[in-house]
């Protein structure tokens, strides 16, 4: 996945706010990138643009050889369904569907049959085999987040976006979730882009990209908790 000179601002006239300024970045296949930065640094907008949820004002976003900024709303939706997965901070499971139905929801929307073996494999890896017929309300926070990771994986997408995936979880549960996210990269070869505030979460990534005021200011390979924390406190976040 590649972003090329992407700019995005909100509003018009004097109240206009620039969220991204001329950002370019490549995410190689099978890598895990963490996006960090203070509030309002543009990391959410960055992710929305990369995922095609928001259209950039200028620039292009390439995935699997296609510029998604040029796609129609409908085509983009279908493209997203097949090529991108999402993991949210607040899980965002459909309350009326069981865990299994939530996981296979993309197939339901596709009108395709779910690949049973593949679903079972993911479910087993997520440790959800026993909970498949439960409604989200009957699951713990960690279990709900595992369901949403399973849902993100189920279509074998190129890229998975995770927005503060551990933000609503306690440390122990969060650690488990981060392990699972790491596995999606190591075992299944997905590209993972994660927005986070937490240096401990960022330490699971291959690299950390720091954003400030809508621009990329630094990049760190093989991050550790200490180095990331140090960087963040230096930039006075």
């Amino acid at each position: 996945m590649t972003l090329q000179s992407v700019s995005k601002s909100f509003g018009t006239g004097p109240t206009s706010v620039v969220a991204l300024r001329d950002v370019s970045m490549t995410f190689p296949q099978g890598t895990f990138t963490a996006l960090m930065g203070p509030s309002g640094s543009g990391k959410s907008t960055f992710m929305h643009c990369a995922a095609g949820l928001e259209r950039p004002d200028v620039g292009a976003v390439y995935l699997a050889g296609a510029d998604i900024t040029k796609m129609s709303e409908r085509r983009l939706t279908v493209f997203r369904r097949d090529n991108m997965g999402f993991v949210f901070q607040s899980f965002n499971l459909l309350p009326s569907l069981t865990a299994r139905q939530n996981i296979t929801l993309p197939f339901l929307l596709n009108g395709r049959r779910a690949d049973r073996k593949w679903v079972d494999e993911i479910v087993e890896r997520m440790g959800l085999t026993e909970r498949m017929s439960h409604l989200p309300a009957e699951l713990s926070g960690g279990q709900q987040q595992r369901v949403s990771i399973a849902r993100a994986l189920v279509t074998r997408p190129q890229v998975i976006f995770a927005d503060e995936p551990t933000g609503a979880l306690d440390t122990r549960t969060g650690t488990g979730i981060l392990h699972l996210l790491r596995e999606t990269v190591d075992v299944y070869g997905r590209t993972l882009i994660m927005v986070t505030h937490d240096p401990r979460a960022a330490a699971y990534a291959d690299r950390v990209v720091f954003l400030v005021d809508g621009g990329i200011v630094d990049e760190m390979r093989s991050p550790t908790v200490e180095r990331t924390s140090a960087w963040l406190s230096r930039s006075d976040v």
Partner: protein
């Protein structure tokens, strides 16, 4: 998609229960209304007086009056004329028909107003008997009637009575009875026999039989008959015979194979009134249903905004979201139909008997079950929900997937440009309707203006959030009284989120508008009528009839002879058929009840506020019209109007004057001479008398048993009372529609409040007590109700004032404060209960568990 929808409905039972209830109630109302309306439309079985007859020939009331500028006049729908007996026929037609092969016998039938009164009976009792019709004895074979006792009438003073009537009055063979007729006034007859119809049934006017000669004389014109009954030879093909008879009878006649349609049944007027009443009530209920169902669905979609965003983020297209909502609507409406249709069918029986009890519907009125109302309810139920879902889904499909990623659920919204434009278009349309209605004036103008309540309702709904924000700002300072903190929060919430207030206040606006209009509109018309009548009536006494049919001209004559009487004026309604609309274009004709008056008399006793021309010119070929009617149809004083008179004669009459004070009187006046020649059977509805003659008038009631004498003030008081009785029925149905609206209001408010459990929990965690949260919610509810009541009152007042302006050029309307305050109080109580109850449930939970729980 259907699977997802089914799943969604079945797990979210509580949330869907509300919309299910709203739609099921809508279906119930539509089904019940449809069944009753169909029953009223088909309930009138016609008159069985000609049951023994093969064919009936009558006059044709649907004949063109004249052709204007060589253009044929359209003789289309004629609500007044269709309820009246057809025009009379020349006797020559009977002779022609008798020659037709296959006709065994022809019987000319006469039917005249003939009220039989037991000698010495006070007039107050006469009222209970209803209208009676007199016929020649040869007509007794047409039903047939069989003599139970005595013999047929032979000499001119002999009559035969209907068996049941005779039994009720304690009259029998050998007794004397007075009969009041138009031609004779009151005359004493001898009862020589009692007869019963061969098949008993209450469905035509009680009959009294004279000799054929007497009946012909009493009809006022012995050369004409009311109907010609045809008995066919046995084994004759009725259809072929009918076409031969039609050829022989010639123009201006109607040949009926269904003899029950030959004359209006005793209940036909009541059925027309019931149909009109149910029609209006069904229209209002239907309109309310549209709003309620649309509101319920848009609320449902708003509540699920976040879930929709998740679906969009996961990869559902806008179309898929739309289809999912449509499928959910289908599931919900299918269940609603299964519940609502049987409920509506069951409800129609008690409602029918209620209508009978209230005197709105005739005694025989009962629900007739048919496929049509059920189909209409099914189509309306599914159609309405699909329409509501379609508009709501359009909004849902536009939900952006990023909303799932944000933590704040409801983003600030602005009115879309299209919606704003549509809102202003409807506002402009409303202004046009008001201006146009007032310019047209009269009954038509005031009826047209009624539509403005609908268009203003739509305007208020479209521009709701914009209006609400402003009204909330006005009301908010008052709410601060509740307590500084909570009042402030309530006001801030209302300003920040006018959408919630707007959608919650819509059903209240609707309820207040319709309740006010339905109750105050008839009262306003009544008040205006009373006011005009007070100004118009210059008489000291008003004479009316006890049987509601009218008084014979003999009464007028006798009153004029009384000492002390300085002026007498009778107003005698006769149906005239008039070409409506100005020159050019097709001219529809319609029947109006014109009042026949003697111009010299009427100017002395009725101040009609003549605007153009002079009433004294209302001589032989003159006609006068109300200013409103003249304006509506483009008549000017001096115009020649083609008129069809009750005996079938066509004349051109000169418009000699237009007058303003027509309310409670009539839109058209014709000279009494003309009426006497062309409608000898007509009876006076009122006789106005000037002079100190109370005793003399009372003495007259002895010779005229149907006469009731009233002082001017007593007459005006009675006018007020009779319309009060009508409003009781309206009140009751308003209460039913109000109940339905109330349930919907509760439903919407409760759903909106329950959806805010998290917000309440946050307030609790921030240190608010339960009481404080409830006070805040109550404050918001008050603002919601205030907005609803304000808009509803505004719309109702606009409609009422415009309607009054159209009718009488005065902005007067009747709204008794106690009734209005009751409506407002009901709205406040309902609004508070519907909000505080679910809020109370929500704050009872532990705040932390609500916050912790995921949506």
């Amino acid at each position: 998609m259907l699977r997802l929808a089914l799943r969604s409905v079945s797990t979210r039972k509580a949330r869907f229960a509300g919309s299910l209830l709203a739609i099921a109630l809508a279906v119930t109302v539509i089904t019940a209304g449809g069944v009753l309306l169909q029953s009223a439309l088909t309930g009138d079985r016609g008159s069985p007086r000609f049951d023994a007859v093969t064919l009936i020939v009558t006059g044709n009331s649907h004949l063109p009056v004249a052709s204007v500028n060589g253009q044929a006049i359209d003789a289309g729908a004629d609500p007044v004329g269709d309820g009246l007996p057809p025009p009379r026929l020349p006797l020559a037609v009977a002779k022609r028909v008798a020659q037709v092969s296959g006709v065994r016998e022809v019987v000319p039938d006469v039917s005249v107003y003939s009220q039989v009164v037991k000698v010495g009976e006070p007039s107050s009792i006469v009222n209970a008997d209803g209208a009676m019709r007199g016929h020649g004895w040869s007509s007794s074979r047409l039903t047939p009637y069989r003599l139970r006792d005595g013999h047929p009438p032979v000499s001119p003073d002999e009559i035969v009575l209907d068996g049941r009537f005779a039994a009720r009055k304690g009259l029998g063979t050998g007794d004397s009875a007075d009969v009041v007729t138009a031609v004779d006034g009151t005359r004493r007859y001898r009862v020589v026999g009692v007869a019963d119809p061969a098949t008993p049934g209450p469905s035509h006017a009680t009959a009294v039989f004279f000799t054929d000669q007497t009946a012909a004389r009493l009809s006022g014109d012995p050369t004409r008959v009311d109907a010609i009954a045809v008995f066919a030879e046995s084994h004759e093909d009725v259809t072929r015979l009918a076409s031969r008879v039609r050829d022989a009878a010639g123009d201006g006649t109607l040949v009926l194979t269904d003899t029950s349609q030959a004359e209006p049944s005793a209940d036909s007027g009541a059925y027309v009134a019931t149909t009109a009443f149910l029609g209006i009530m069904s229209a209002v209920a239907g309109f309310v249903a549209i709003f309620v169902v649309a509101g319920t669905f848009s609320l449902l979609v708003v509540q699920r905004r976040r879930e929709t965003a998740v679906l969009r983020a996961v990869g559902a297209t806008g179309g898929q979201v739309r289809r999912m909502i449509a499928a959910e609507a289908l599931v919900v409406s299918a269940i609603a139909l299964a519940v609502g249709v049987p409920a509506g069918l069951m409800l129609s029986r008690p409602l029918a008997s209620l209508l009978v009890t209230l005197g709105v519907a005739p005694t025989g009125f009962h629900p007739v079950y048919g496929a049509v109302p059920v189909i209409v309810a099914a189509v309306a139920g599914i159609g309405l929900t699909q329409l509501a879902a379609f508009t709501a889904a359009g909004r849902a499909a536009r939900v952006r997937p990023t909303e799932a990623l944000r933590e704040s659920a409801a983003p600030p919204r602005r009115l879309s440009r299209l919606r704003t434009l549509a809102g202003f278009a409807f506002a402009a349309l409303s202004a046009f309707i008001v201006a146009n209605g007032i310019a047209t004036g009269g009954n038509k103008g005031s009826g047209d203006v009624f539509v403005v309540s609908f268009t203003l309702m739509v305007t208020a709904t479209l521009l709701g959030p914009m209006v609400t924000a402003r009204v909330a700002r006005l009301v908010a300072p008052l709410i601060a009284v509740l307590g500084r903190g909570q009042g402030f929060l309530a006001a801030a919430n209302s300003k920040a989120n006018p959408w919630r207030i707007a959608s919650a206040s819509t059903p209240i606006t609707l309820a207040v508008t319709f309740t006010c209009i339905m109750i105050f509109m008839p009262q306003t018309v009544q008040k205006l009528t009373l006011r005009e009548s007070q100004l118009r009536i210059q008489a000291d006494h008003v004479l009316v009839s006890a049987d509601g049919q009218g008084l014979p001209s003999a009464v007028t004559r006798d009153v004029a002879r009384l000492p002390g009487v300085s002026a007498v004026a009778a107003t005698t309604p006769i149906p005239v058929r008039l070409g409506m609309g100005g020159a050019g274009g097709p001219v529809p004709t319609r029947t109006l009840m014109a009042l026949a008056v003697v111009p010299a008399q009427v100017t002395a006793l009725l101040d009609l506020d003549v605007k153009v021309g002079r009433l004294s010119a209302l001589t032989d070929d003159g006609i006068a019209a109300s200013s409103a009617a003249a304006r509506e149809h483009g008549w000017r004083v001096g115009d020649r109007l083609p008129v069809g008179l009750p005996d079938g004669t066509r004349r051109e009459l000169h418009l000699v004057a237009t007058y303003d004070r027509s309310l409670g009187l009539s839109d058209v006046l014709v000279p009494a001479d003309l009426a006497a020649r062309h409608a000898p059977q007509a009876l006076a509805t009122a006789i106005y008398v000037k002079g100190e003659t109370a005793e003399g008038l009372n003495a007259l009631t002895k010779t005229h048993p149907t006469l009731i004498t009233l002082s001017r003030s007593a007459y005006l008081a009675q006018m007020k009372q009779s319309s009060d009785a009508q409003t009781t029925a309206v009140y009751l149905f308003i209460m039913l529609i109000g109940l339905y609206t109330a349930i919907s209001v509760m439903n919407m408010l409760a759903a909106a409040t329950a959806a805010r459990a998290r917000e309440f929990a946050a307030l609790r965690l921030a240190g608010s007590t339960r009481r404080q949260v409830l006070t805040m919610v109550g404050g918001e509810a008050l603002i919601t109700v205030a907005v609803g009541v304000f808009l509803g009152t505004l719309i109702a007042a606009t409609t009422l004032v415009s309607s009054s302006l159209a009718l009488t050029r005065t902005p007067v309307f009747a709204a008794p404060p106690q009734v209005y305050l009751t409506i407002v109080a009901t709205a406040v109580v309902l609004g508070l209960a519907a909000t505080l109850f679910p809020a109370g449930m929500a704050v009872r939970l532990r705040a932390i568990s609500v916050i912790g729980a995921r949506e």
